[in-house]
């Protein structure tokens, strides 16, 4: 049984209306086909590791939303849609039918081959000539049975954070196996993704090599798979974690999963660096970071650097909390006046905005849609990977059924009332740290071995974002924390989670790793109180000054050896020899983002607050010279010798 044309056209017309197109084009027909529950188009995409929703947004993005003003009456079909309907009609007639069905139409769209949906699918890596065949012969099964795969847990595994949805995805991912054993969690980082080590079990009791499974929001997982194909795959050292198969994105879930395979000895389960440090030995970790991780991946990643002068916000704004969190104000309810924030963003204008203000946003791009929260996330949407996520704005209270939005849409005009600025978010996060200093003062006083007066990072970070920095760009991992680095056989390094891999500021990875080592590992041992954070800060200060560490804590001295290795990698990677501001700025902003993560320990967040303050102070030493960093390029010296 397949669906008839009449029903498809109704749904196509609805899509056309949502997009304010007011005509029937191939894109509407195709989206209507994808909306058929259990339909042929959906099942083909799923087989190829894509979800209908992901593809639908890809098509919408390519076509764009139309204008509210209609300039013709009725709902005409486009010439191309008519051609496709004619092809579909021929297919039906060939089979002795008079009515066009779902399969005929889908086949016709693929056969016509030049329409936008086909172009979008091709860009997503699908081979149209092979899926035409699938469209013709795939049987239509409306009932998708849940594959049964037994899930058991390793003895120490705490399954409390596994939901039913996670289990559905795991069963789908390991379809064909008798069961799986979940060994352990790997430490999460910036994302709220679930990362597990899983051993597949065969029905004869044999165990296959353990793999790493990552489960996250569908869009994130599919983006990661796309990114892996395009940017990462060709640059990996021969022996490392690879993304296996296509992602699994079941229709009934908002989540999806990917598998990373790792060649390990069967008796050795993959471990993230956080847990492997003890086995590896702290004293050896520095050597390992340099000789294994940096050397193995460096050749195609960090060592392939090109000079790059950039304004700091273009690489770093996106890692900070949203610049604004707003409540949507429907059209017609806005009084005239108010402020306007438009892309490209004028920072001084943004600075004047306070909570309670009514602000009109112009030309921001939708980054994410949260249907169950009636919210959308906006950002500037243009430029490179990092830049396009800059100036994140969260807009809540939108009736998404009435005001339709999709990922990638450029919204020319939308109004909201500010509930929270970035400053408010950072203040709130800092308040949770129970600070022994005045958060509104320009400086804070820290009493370690010696008394330090440091800039208040929450008031001082903003200035860093405006600076123009001479740095370098290379392929980077983008989220290089302890949980994403695995130690494999022969102590070889494996990286997982390429959701943020891109061409970006080379030393961002090292600032991220230093931040992670300090907060996730060193503070775990040092404790949560401020005294402990002060003590660690003394060591960071010694590291910055490249002097000997204080003598009061030999264990801490040992724990800092990996950081010395990181700094030596950074030293080599600086774009301008000895110009450490490039690193301190990166470190300050990486540390600042850490204070808002409630998954980090209290001690970890406290230390990061101090590290941000200290790094800003270090950076300020270098940028004392006015002028140099206010412009895209330093003034050039005219070397012509005039006669």
């Amino acid at each position: 049984m397949t669906i008839d044309l009449k029903d498809i056209l109704i749904s196509a017309r609805q899509e056309s209306h949502r997009m304010q197109h007011f005509y029937i084009g191939v894109e509407h027909l195709f989206i209507a086909l994808l909306e058929i529950p259990g339909g042929i188009a959906r099942s083909i995409l799923q087989e190829h590791g894509l979800t209908p929703e992901y593809v639908i947004d890809g098509v919408r993005q390519k076509i764009g939303k139309g204008s509210k003003r209609r300039i013709w009456s009725g709902t005409p079909s486009t010439p191309r849609a008519n051609v496709i309907l004619a092809i579909a009609n021929e297919i039906a007639m060939d089979e002795g039918r008079t009515d066009i069905n779902e399969r005929d139409l889908l086949t016709a769209i693929f056969e016509e081959g030049e329409n936008m949906p086909v172009r979008v699918l091709t860009r997503l890596g699908l081979d149209i000539s092979s899926i035409v065949h699938e469209a013709q012969y795939r049987s239509v099964e409306r009932v998708v049975s849940q594959p049964y795969v037994d899930i058991i847990y390793a003895s120490e595994f705490d399954d409390s954070s596994l939901t039913d949805e996670h289990k559905v995805i795991l069963r789908r991912m390991f379809y064909g196996y008798d069961g799986i054993r979940i060994e352990n969690y790997l430490t999460g980082g910036y994302t709220k993704a679930l990362v597990l080590v899983v051993t597949p079990l065969n029905d004869d009791g044999r165990e296959d090599a353990a793999v790493v499974v990552k489960i996250d929001d569908t869009d994130e997982i599919l983006d990661e798979a796309q990114r892996y194909e395009q940017h990462v795959k060709g640059t990996l050292p021969p022996l490392t974690a690879r993304l296996e198969d296509k992602p699994v994105a079941p229709e009934i879930c908002a989540l999806a999963g990917v598998k990373y395979t790792i060649v390990t000895k069967p008796d050795k389960k993959p471990q993230d660096l956080g847990s492997a440090i003890a086995e590896l030995g702290v004293d050896k970790l520095g050597y390992w970071l340099r000789q294994q991780l940096y050397t193995q991946f460096g050749k195609t990643w960090w060592q392939q650097r090109r000079t790059f002068r950039f304004q700091v916000w273009t690489e770093y704004d996106w890692i900070l909390p949203p610049v604004l969190t707003m409540q949507y104000v429907p059209e017609g309810e806005t009084s005239s006046g108010g402020q306007t924030l438009r892309v490209p963003v004028n920072r001084s204008k943004l600075k004047q905005i306070e909570s309670g203000d009514v602000v009109t946003l112009e030309n921001f791009t939708v980054q994410r849609v949260y249907p169950d929260q009636n919210a959308i996330q906006l950002a500037i949407g243009r430029g490179n990977e990092a830049t396009r996520r800059a100036y994140k704005i969260l807009l809540t209270g939108i009736d998404l059924d009435k005001d339709f939005h999709y990922r990638g849409e450029v919204i020319d005009h939308i109004v909201g009332r500010v509930r929270k600025t970035r400053h408010d978010s950072l203040m709130n996060a800092a308040m949770l740290l129970d600070l022994p200093f005045d958060l509104n003062a320009e400086t804070i006083v820290v009493n370690g071995l010696k008394q330090r007066t440091l800039p208040n990072p929450i008031l001082a970070y903003e200035e860093l974002l405006h600076l123009h920095l001479s740095g370098s760009t290379s392929k980077i991992h983008g989220d290089l924390h302890l949980g994403n680095i695995l130690v494999g056989p022969g102590d070889s390094p494996f990286l997982i989670d390429f959701a943020h891999s891109r061409d970006g500021h080379t030393i961002f990875d090292w600032a991220t790793l230093e931040t992670s080592l300090l907060s996730d590992w060193i503070m775990k041992q040092a404790g949560n109180d401020w005294e402990a954070a002060y003590q660690v800060l003394d060591y960071v200060a010694a590291l910055n000054a490249q002097t000997t560490f204080p003598r009061n804590n030999p264990e801490l001295t040992l724990a800092f050896t990996p950081l010395i290795a990181i700094r030596s990698i950074v030293q080599e990677s600086l774009a301008v020899e000895g110009a450490w501001e490039e690193y301190y700025i990166s470190l300050a902003l990486s540390a600042l983002r850490g204070i808002v993560w409630e998954t980090k320990s209290l001690g970890g967040r406290r230390l990061l607050f101090l590290v941000a303050a200290l790094a800003i102070q270090e950076a300020q030493k270098y940028i004392a010279e006015p002028g140099e960093m206010d412009t895209p390029m330093p003034d050039e010296r005219d070397a012509t010798e005039y006669q």
Partner: protein
């Protein structure tokens, strides 16, 4: 030197239409530097007039043949001109070469230059 241009509309209400213009029909004009230029926009006076997309400016872009390529140049339009590349849809600032078959977008409308008529 090509004075004939065929363009297929690839999206919008006119998706699939073929638009032709040629010097013989009185389309286009010669610039000071000797190039034959076709104008494209929403206003009737354009050689290629696309008036079903309100995101297209009245005088939106120009297309000309030079150095064995078609070139597209934005005429300071409100919403810009974009060219499709394997990685992204890149905004056109100065004139850029467009291969036959390659897509470019003005306003919300994707267009494609057809190979016939572009060869000598």
């Amino acid at each position: 030197m090509s004075h004939e241009l065929s363009i297929t509309v690839m999206s919008g209400v006119d998706d699939g239409s073929l638009l032709k213009c040629s010097a013989e029909n009185g389309d286009g004009h010669r610039t000071e530097d000797g190039l034959w230029v076709f104008n494209i926009g929403r206003h009737d006076s354009n050689d290629i007039c696309l008036n079903n997309d309100t995101f297209i400016s009245r005088m939106h872009a120009r297309i000309f043949w030079n150095d064995a390529h078609w070139w597209v140049e934005d005429c300071e339009s409100t919403n810009g001109t974009f060219i499709e590349t394997p990685d992204e849809d890149r905004p056109v600032k100065e004139a850029v070469p467009v291969a036959a078959g390659q897509l470019f977008r003005i306003g919300r409308t994707w267009l494609r230059i057809e190979p016939d008529g572009s060869e000598e």
